[in-house]
């Protein structure tokens, strides 16, 4: 009963045989796509190909209708192999970093077309995402058009950026729990966004999202505090600047606190030029109008 599968599994286990995964469908006739990763969903909607999405993961928060209209397969890092296969997908688009690896391995073993989309919080990364998705869906022309839109967005963003005279130091605060600050250091999407907005990450001697001490906040001397806003909740300037660490920063003197939609800010999808533009406008309210 099991010997064939056992044999195959053992070969896999010991890596003695390179395994090729057959592609079941050509890009043009994929009609049941399972999406693992919110920015992929966002791009497919931007390409107006959402009718092909059979199911998506719980990070697919934009557009908000997506999670209401489509079945969801759970959180992108705890996918169930049988759950995904139960949707009879003919293509799975998975963001780099989806998991667990075992479940993805099982899914690939069944021979369903499986494409991993790279995820990199830079403008180039967004282009690579769009191109990979367009190719997988057989919609290269749509992807090229979207690429042009996004590139135009980044171009006008670059123009806007040149008009920044004095870059401000921005501290991204991910959470403030029990008075403990978690901030965004280097190699985070918050850092990428602060750079796109022509500003300096005040926490760039930290790597990743990390808790930071009150003293380090004072030493970082941010001119602006950047936080995320979600449906129900945004940190208020009153709350933040009442805390001694923040009260001692330059940001407190001008009560500069910017709160933006979390997904828009950190999503790194087609809306990123728009997000960075919004952020520049919020960080530099006195920016001279276009000549």
């Amino acid at each position: 009963m099991i010997s064939r599968s056992v044999h195959r599994a053992l070969i896999l286990l010991f890596g003695l045989l390179p395994i090729t995964f057959a592609s079941a469908a050509t890009p043009a006739d994929v009609n049941r796509v399972v999406v693992l990763g919110g920015s992929i969903t966002e791009i497919i909607y931007a390409l107006h190909r959402e009718e092909r999405i059979a199911a998506l993961d719980t990070t697919s928060l934009f557009p908000p209708s997506a999670l209401k209209d489509k079945p969801n397969v759970g959180y992108v890092r705890s996918i169930s192999a049988e759950g995904v296969l139960s949707l009879r997908p003919d293509l799975i688009l998975s963001i780099d970093g989806a998991g667990p690896p075992d479940a993805l391995m099982l899914i690939r073993q069944t021979g369903v077309a499986f494409v991993t989309i790279p995820d990199d919080p830079t403008p180039d990364g967004i282009h690579r995402k769009i191109d990979a998705i367009g190719k997988a869906l057989g919609d290269e022309s749509g992807a090229a058009a979207l690429d042009r839109d996004v590139a135009a967005g980044f171009a006008s963003l670059a123009v806007l950026r040149t008009r920044i005279e004095k870059p401000r130091r921005v501290l991204f605060v991910l959470s403030l729990q029990n008075g403990r600050s978690m901030v965004g250091g280097r190699h985070t999407s918050a850092d990428g966004m602060i750079r796109l907005a022509g500003s300096v990450n005040a926490a760039d001697d930290i790597d990743g999202y990390k808790p930071i001490t009150d003293e380090a906040i004072v030493a970082a001397a941010p001119d602006v505090i950047l936080t995320m806003q979600n449906d129900r909740h945004a940190l208020s300037a009153d709350t933040v600047f009442a805390m001694p660490a923040y009260a001692a920063t330059p940001a407190a003197k001008t009560r500069s606190l910017v709160s933006l939609d979390g997904l828009l800010l950190l999503g790194f999808g087609p809306r990123t030029p728009e997000a960075a533009t919004t952020l520049i406008r919020a960080l530099y309210p006195d920016l001279a109008p276009a000549p």
């Binding site: 009963m1 599994a9 759970g74 049988e82 759950g83 296969l85 009879r88 069944t110």
Partner: protein, 348 residues
């Protein structure tokens, strides 16, 4: 063997068969019972048409391995729990206590966080499937050996010392795991979190084969230790006069538990409460004789974990609820109830 014992074991075998059938039959993909039989028959005759059939793949490569792995892991955890409770003469002893789980968790966390840093691509390549289990297994064995070394003086193993050293080592590995959590980026952090909840979701025939090699021998050997455990229940000195080579038996038992629990943590992550709940349920219904408790624990532990796994993968289908949440939700209230009703037995 008494009649109650035979009836209990027979009922547990029926339960096992029932959960096995339910587990193979239920899932996100609906496969009719007749189709299941057809697929199984075709698999037996190695019908080549089978390789292309979607539902056959799901049945043979996902569901059946998952069910088998669930039985082996559940049986290993429950039987190890029964063995440790007997060995320590403490109804609260749990496989987590002797450091296996803590050591395994630390090594797995190190593999997740540092592995990628030192050897780029370690957790993405073809070795990914083997790295984490090997690390967890090695960590579990190392922690158990260290504890055993600490608790053994002049060839005698002190159970009290073993428990206390276990608490200390648990705190130490906990701190080290915490340090790794601090060092990890947000992707690794999510890997750590989900790994620590346990899951049978990654079951493959490769893992079933590994479990069969590592766990099955333990399940077969342990029931032969029942007489020694029954003698140990009278105290180590009495057991010695009854002819039990106490020191050697303790060493063998701890080694077997480390092997069984280390393997199960490596293959399915740490799954809590099976090891403490199952032996208790059995002692309440079938008495304290280890000749019954040990094999019955394996049968009930396997059935219970497979049952919990059926819930885990169907409750929110096509998504999956981490199984650790379910075993804790069932196990923790039971454990509290046990504490409150049997307070005098545990000396509280």
């Amino acid at each position: 063997m008494s009649r109650t014992a035979i009836v209990t074991l027979a009922l547990l075998c029926l339960l096992l068969a029932g959960t096995a059938i339910a587990s193979v039959g239920l899932g996100a993909v609906t496969i009719s019972p007749s189709r299941i039989l057809m697929v199984l028959r075709a698999a037996l005759t190695r019908d080549p048409a089978l390789d292309a059939a979607h539902d056959a793949l799901i049945l043979l490569d996902i569901r059946i391995p998952r069910t088998l792995l669930g039985f082996l892991v559940g049986a290993a955890l429950a039987m190890s729990g029964a063995l440790l409770q007997g060995l320590f003469r403490n109804p609260l002893a749990d496989p987590g206590l002797i450091g296996v789980s803590a050591g395994a968790a630390l090594a797995a966390a190190a593999a997740i966080v540092l592995g990628d840093r030192w050897i780029p691509g370690l957790l993405d390549g073809p070795w990914a499937v083997v790295v984490l289990p090997l690390a967890a297994f090695g960590g579990g064995l190392a922690a158990t050996s260290i504890l055993y070394g600490l608790a053994t003086r002049d060839g005698r193993t002190s159970v009290a010392l073993l428990l206390l050293a276990g608490v200390a080592l648990g705190a130490l590995t906990g701190a080290a795991t915490g340090l790794l959590v601090y060092l990890s980026d947000d992707r690794q952090l999510r890997d750590l979190t989900f790994w620590s909840l346990g899951s049978l979701g990654g079951a493959t025939w490769g893992k079933v084969a590994a479990a069969a090699v590592l766990i099955l021998p333990v399940l077969v050997i342990v029931p032969f230790l029942a007489r020694s455990l029954n003698a140990l229940a009278l105290g180590e000195a009495d057991a010695y006069y009854l002819g039990v080579p106490v020191q050697r038996t303790k060493r063998i038992m701890i080694g077997l538990v480390a092997l069984a629990v280390g393997s199960s943590v490596a293959l399915a992550g740490p799954i809590a409460f099976i090891g403490i709940v199952v032996p208790h349920l059995l002692r309440l219904t079938a008495g304290a004789d280890h000749r019954i408790v040990l094999p019955a624990s394996a049968l009930l532990g396997g059935s219970l974990l497979v049952g919990a796994d059926i819930l885990a993968r169907t409750l929110a289908a096509p998504a999956e609820v981490p199984i650790g949440i379910l075993t804790a939700a069932i196990g923790a209230p039971f454990f509290l109830w046990l504490l409150l009703t049997r307070a005098q037995d545990i000396g509280a």
